[in-house]
Subunit: 357 residues, 2 copies
């Protein structure tokens, strides 16, 4: 039976970069006889415009029925002033939560062809290859109660709750250890156990899970120190596992170390490796519609999808090789362009990957 892929182009540059990724996916489909069937829907601001909500029930139903989801990016100034309850981001948070996509994999990989793009010194980042495993459906993003209210003295106050249960921590810790097993066998768990009750439980449970992975070298680091160490000596890390909020911050910091966030894909997986795949970068409304956005992170998200959700290693490898080939050819979109390279637009870049594949 054919595999169903739900494509959600989203907002801003989303539709442009997704068009290129779909070209690549369709070619891989033919070439490797993957038997994929694509359908399309909206998420985020585009869904607000079409359905009045950032994630419509029918879209959620399609997402549940699909075998994997490809997402562009969501959000933009157009929806900045609307009711917070239907902001584009709420659609993203809801699909993560409803589909149980708790395991967020965010690689920070430096492409040798793009070494100069980093704002860090070459010797600090050359060969950088970190994987951040972020818990994606718990913690302060979804904790209840959360409230905004007026106190008796007339003052406003608001609060959020940061909860974690043992089972939530255990399942994401396992993802961290499993990833470390197939990489360099080093896992760093990041928390703030010197201050937070939730972090103390986090650390205790990670220690328990570690017993099942005697081969893994486990360390713990406070989040403030991790933010420093990523700048000072990022190559000390192999896999980092951390909670939703810390993972949001550290994965963005880590991806920027490479200087080419336009190159980085991500995966959000459920317990059965069903996943949603999207570029790490945002919807870049400032350059939307100009045909200059970098489609490579979305194309590499296709490759991640083939690898993690469908175990199509050969096809995934082929796409990554094709991306590497176009970089070798000197083709660059504006965000990764440097002296001596050929500047190309979104479509030309997509076509080049298709040709290389």
């Amino acid at each position: 039976m054919s595999k169903q892929i739900l494509v959600l182009p989203g907002d801003g540059i989303g539709p442009e970069i997704m068009a290129e990724a779909v070209k690549v996916l369709q070619l891989a489909n033919d070439k490797f006889q993957l038997d994929f069937e694509l359908s399309y829907d909206e998420l985020g601001g585009a869904a607000v415009d079409k359905y009045g909500v950032p994630l419509a029930d029918e879209t959620l139903g399609r997402a549940r029925a699909a075998d994997a989801i490809l997402l562009g990016a969501v959000g933009g100034p157009k929806w900045d002033k609307i009711d917070p309850a239907i902001r584009p981001e709420r659609g993203l948070l809801k699909i993560r939560s409803e589909l149980g996509l708790f395991g967020n994999l965010r690689p920070a990989l430096l492409y040798p062809q793009l070494a100069d793009a980093s704002s860090l010194k070459p010797e600090i980042v050359a060969g950088l290859d970190i994987l951040i495993v972020r818990e994606l459906t718990g913690g302060i993003y979804f904790g209840k109660p959360r409230e905004s209210k007026v106190l008796e003295n007339g003052e406003r106050m608001a609060y959020d709750t940061l909860p974690y249960s043992e089972s939530e921590i255990r399942r994401i810790a396992k993802v961290g250890f499993d990833m470390a097993m197939v990489r360099n066998k080093k896992l760093c768990s990041v928390d703030k156990a010197n201050v937070l009750a939730s972090s103390q439980l986090w650390r205790a449970v990670v220690e328990e899970v570690a017993k099942d992975y005697p081969e893994i070298e486990l360390s713990h680091m406070y989040v403030d120190n991790a933010a420093m160490q990523l700048v000072r000596a990022p190559k000390q890390f192999d896999v980092i596992v951390t909670d939703n909020m810390f993972g949001d911050i550290l994965s963005d910091e880590a991806s920027m170390l490479t200087g080419s966030i336009g190159m980085l894909p991500s995966a959000s997986l459920d317990a059965g490796n069903k996943g949603m795949y999207e570029p790490c970068h945002g919807s870049a409304p400032d350059i939307a519609g100009q045909g200059i956005a970098n489609p490579l992170a979305t194309i590499l998200s296709v490759s991640m999808m083939l690898r993690y959700s469908f175990n199509q290693v050969a096809a995934a490898d082929a796409i990554e090789q094709a991306v590497s080939d176009v970089l070798d050819q000197g083709l660059r979109t504006g965000d990764i362009w440097s002296e001596g390279c050929t500047k190309v637009g979104t479509q030309a870049m997509g076509d080049a990957v298709v040709a290389a594949l």
Copy 2:
């Protein structure tokens, strides 16, 4: 009447670096007729050893009575396994909270003499001069309820609460705007208003306070983006104001951009500019007792104290100049040493600053 300074050397390298800072303070005292009187007590692990708690009531009483507090650093592996309720850090959190030291100023300044020490490319960080204003007595650090419990199904869970009231946000926002007024008139408020209720209130109140500062160019940034922008282009920032947790993470990241965290002081101020002054770095237990720690951040904390709590601008300037002079002389402790400079120990560095002053 003479001014009372309470000196808390703390743990690890604390006593060593404090000894040098006190030498400098005493010389400034004589030279500028400051009429300071020093007394000593313990905080953190040293207080656990002496009093059984990381902040004794009598120490807190002395801190309340003092006009300013100089702190070394707290914590170390010796106290890692003790009851979490009396960990060294609890003493630090308690003194901040009990004295109402809500305004934490953390400069990230690149010394031209140390430009090479940064892991970032010179053109990205040359001339870097950011001030992070961190809220220090509220948010998730102190929010109630916080609990660790066992659910009915036998599973453990734990949670923390992140609360902010209008008045807490207003007073720290004012510190941010006031600092921006005497700097480059640019303030960036960092939050996660696309996810957190507390951040939505934060943003609204900062906007309100902004009305009193029409000269200031205010911007808002999500914390994940701020973590990226600090790596990508840190010089876009002048003053950053943010909450306790985000400030903890971003100030450490920012200080590491300079490559010389051993040079960075900090101030924690109450509503009347009474303050506690301490280096940004920690207690570095790995090098404690070896006489090799860098005392300059603590010496510069003395200068910050003179400036912010006592308005002794000439004395503060003189200390900063003396530090700059010893750097010009090529003297370096191990943490900031580079080829061609003279490596010196803690005491020799302190003596050199005294001589320059």
